[in-house]
């Protein structure tokens, strides 16, 4: 790793975090247009975050030091993950980009969120935490296995750089039943992990149906801004992983201007396509009942297992 490469990796992580509000803005814009509305500007999430960041924090008198610390823990975990996610360049902060650690950092994020939901002692925070916990029991293993499938498929160990490098190097040849199955499982996981329709409604105004929003009900001002931003980054990370690992075309493997510009174009197209997919899903499907979620998540889990098994059986 030369210093220039390190700078590039840092830039790529920074870029991922910087565009995440834009990504959310684009999804919201597409959704609004699908609802025959004009919708807010794609830059609106930036404005929202800036406003929240400047506001006073109203903290529950029952909340402890953890409540004040949790936004920073969540942001930190997203920062680490952003540094581990191949975006325009397959090389990430190797050798620390460990896929297992990646899943555990997602767990750290969730664990912090769940504890944050229990702070304050309202029924809604607990409700959000309780549902989140139910989902996470099925999501995390599926995520673990679908990512592991890639590791096993490429034989590249646990280093995300090597995995993404190997998959992208193969290009279309990388597409096999295992990749497709794992990819499908990953898509379900992505939707569930980011608590989007049909698992949760990010735009809901009903406190009784909330999952993710329920845990955020007590946050305000700066804490809320950070939590919202962390959630946006999480969505972008998942989209980037889907784009670079399961659609293996175009991501730069060498540090040449040509490859990087192709890669930039490719990731833009992929992210827009995924954003469109998410928006279309959210527009055409209703939120499912809470106790239907496990079926869907079990399906994702089974797909991931099948992906893993198919590597050796097929």
């Amino acid at each position: 790793m030369n210093p220039f490469e390190i700078v590039l990796m840092a830039l790529q992580a920074a870029a991922l975090m910087a565009v995440s509000p834009l990504v959310v803005g684009i999804i919201r814009k597409i959704k609004a247009r699908m609802q025959n509305k004009v919708g807010a500007s794609v830059l609106q999430p930036y404005r929202d975050l800036r406003k929240m960041f400047r506001k006073e924090s109203a903290v529950s008198e029952n909340a402890s030091f953890l409540f004040r610390l949790i936004p920073y823990v969540c942001l930190t975990s997203m920062l680490l993950l952003a540094a581990m996610t191949p975006f325009v360049y397959t090389q990430v902060i190797a050798p620390y980009a460990d896929v297992i650690a990646m899943v555990y950092i997602f767990t750290m994020f969730r664990f912090a969120m769940v504890l944050g939901g229990l702070e304050g002692g309202s029924a809604f925070g607990g409700m959000g935490s309780s549902r989140e916990v139910m989902m996470s029991v099925l999501i995390e293993p599926a995520l673990l296995i679908s990512i592991m499938t890639l590791s096993a498929m490429t034989g590249a160990g646990f280093d995300l750089s090597a995995i993404s490098g190997s998959i992208n190097a193969r290009g279309a040849a990388a597409i096999c039943p295992a990749l497709l199955l794992a990819g499908t499982s990953f898509v379900i996981t992505m939707v569930a992990e980011n608590t989007r329709v049909p698992f949760d409604n990010p735009d809901t105004h009903l406190e009784l149906t909330m999952v993710h929003e329920g845990m955020l009900l007590e946050y305000s001002g700066r804490g809320l801004a950070i939590m919202e931003f962390a959630s946006m980054v999480r969505l972008t990370i998942f989209m980037a992983l889907l784009g670079t690992l399961f659609f293996p075309w175009g991501t730069a493997m060498a540090m040449t201007a040509a490859e990087l510009s192709v890669s930039l174009l490719a990731i833009t197209v992929k992210m827009l396509a995924i954003a469109f997919g998410i928006a279309l899903l959210e527009s055409t499907v209703a939120k499912m009942r809470v106790f239907r979620m496990p079926n869907m998540l079990t399906a994702s889990f089974a797909l991931a297992l099948m992906a893993m098994v198919s590597l050796y059986v097929l």
């Binding site: 004009v38 109203a58 406190e207 009900l217 279309l280």
Partner: protein
């Protein structure tokens, strides 16, 4: 559903109205420019006591429910229908008479608040016992015709996330504590908007089982939007103008 979504996505024409279109629709209010002999028939016909003929003919737009019963009562046909102002920043600015005729509303909220919230306003609707008319209109504010989301206005679920309390209803005694709690729970800088006649003055319910005359007696109000109920485009425009936009 997929077909409709994609057609909507691709169609360039949206029902959303521009600010000019919304601004072109007026809400008419009764007003006497001159020729009133002070007989007081209009005042006694007014169901909410908005008209005063004591010194000069004045109408309190904060009490008027826009029923226009007064227009027909005037034996001299002196009461005309004139465009009403969109909003007011002070309660007394809603009282009009010959010496202070209604004109287009002006003025914005104070500078720091506008700077902090101008581009992104999270609204918490607070119903303090309204008849549900205002709620119908607040819900309409986000339909494809008014689409307030495009201006960065959105309804949020918790007062913790809110910048603006959009208060409707005359502030019933039973809602007073809840309203104070909500205000307390909202982080500053925050703006309190009294939307609709009953929020401004109690309107037709003044003197009933309500706390004071309107929301202003319980919470400090920064912005008054008259109307019973105010049509959605007026509420959207009033908020935008008060934040100095357009």
């Amino acid at each position: 559903m997929i077909r409709r979504s994609i057609l909507n996505l691709l169609s360039p024409k949206k029902p959303a109205e521009s600010i000019e279109e919304m601004g072109s629709r007026q809400l008419l209010m009764p007003f006497v420019r001159g020729g009133c002999d002070g007989c007081g028939k209009c005042a006694s016909a007014c169901p909410s006591g908005a008209i005063d003929v004591g010194k000069e003919w004045t109408i309190d737009l904060g009490k008027c429910i826009f029923c226009m019963d007064c227009v027909g009562e005037c034996p001299l046909s002196a009461i005309e229908r004139v465009p009403s102002p969109l909003y007011a920043l002070k309660r007394e600015d809603l009282v009009f008479g010959a010496s202070r005729p209604p004109g287009p509303a002006g003025g914005a909220l104070d500078e720091p608040t506008v700077a902090a919230l101008g581009e992104s306003v999270s609204i918490r609707e607070l119903d303090t016992g309204s008849c549900n008319g205002c709620e119908v209109e607040v819900n309409c504010m986000s339909n494809p015709y008014y689409d307030m989301g495009r201006f960065g206005l959105k309804i949020v679920a918790s007062p913790r996330h809110a910048d603006m309390l959009l208060v409707t209803g005359p502030m019933t005694n039973n809602m007073r504590k809840a309203a104070l709690d909500t205000f307390e729970a909202t982080p500053s800088p925050k703006v309190v908007v009294a939307m609709g006649t009953c929020a401004i003055s109690g309107g037709i319910f003044a003197g009933g089982d309500v706390s004071g005359e309107g929301v202003g007696d319980t919470l400090g109000v920064d912005l008054f939007i008259p109307g019973c109920p105010p049509p959605p485009e007026r509420a959207v425009l009033a908020i935008l103008r008060a934040f100095g936009r357009q």
